[in-house]
Symmetry: C2
Subunit: 152 residues, 2 copies
Amino acid sequence: MLSKKSKYALKAMMVLAKEYGQGPVLISDMAQREGIPRKFLELILLELKNQGLLQSKKGKGGGYFLGREPRAISVGHIVRVLDGPIAPLPCVSKTAYMRCRECRDERSCGIRIVMKEVRDATAKIMDSTSLEDMLKRVEAVVTGNESLSFAI
Amino acid sequence: MLSKKSKYALKAMMVLAKEYGQGPVLISDMAQREGIPRKFLELILLELKNQGLLQSKKGKGGGYFLGREPRAISVGHIVRVLDGPIAPLPCVSKTAYMRCRECRDERSCGIRIVMKEVRDATAKIMDSTSLEDMLKRVEAVVTGNESLSFAI
DNA sequence: AGATTAGTCTAGTCATCTAATAGGATAGAT
DNA sequence: ATCTATCCTATTAGATGACTAGACTAATCT
């Protein structure tokens, strides 16, 4: 399960992607538009900033904006920043591998084989979907041209 | 992330699948063989039994055994019993749908579109993989015939 | 019948995580 | 200097995760 942190992060990033190139957006604006507790969103954005996905500007006319193009930021990256590894088990994680203490022979663990498949399928989707991709799909739904929403 | 409950459940179910048709297996045996805290495993097996995946026999010569053939028990079913829904967000769950409180228009939510893909991919793998499938794959690894491990 | 064996059930513990909230510090704009 | 808005640290209530304890019940063996 995705935490609310990740969900809120994705929502805020989508706002920033839509507003990309038009100057900084206020935390309060994003919080209000997406129905996210404002103080909580602060923490989230700060973390995204510290990981290089966002930039900010203080003072009047300040706010947050994407650190790079919407097409260069993936869902997987955002989720990993807030929730950590995507893998369902540490023993199949690429970014945070850890063997199972009780596993005799990892290579012949059937559970691991299946969970590795799950990890790969999930990572493939999340890492290949950018903010731009999501914007396009939303657009496709709104304009009624939904065939687009399946063209990755 | 899979909980330890689910992981232990899968391990125990694999033991029972391997031993299928050969009479009941003791909790303690499974606990020892797989390095699972015994009392914790008790709870897990009880839950699996209450959901109809396992049967048990008390007294001497007792223990647990699968309620049906290994080919008729899927990874997805086991995981859902212990961890609940597989979906990364309640709003894309088939078994436990719940809308997001703060979502204006669910249909045009980009996050939801992507997470639905993730759910479908995950569910497809977990629901189409049975204990028997896993046993076969393990066997394939052990005998060195790993081409089998990709033949679902 | 009585002892032994093995699952059943209820409750409780302890640590960690989640989803926030609070409030002052810091830096930029005017 | 004074707004304005992010930055940073701390705190917290409640839930969840991962067990542990112990009494109870049912089946089997002698």
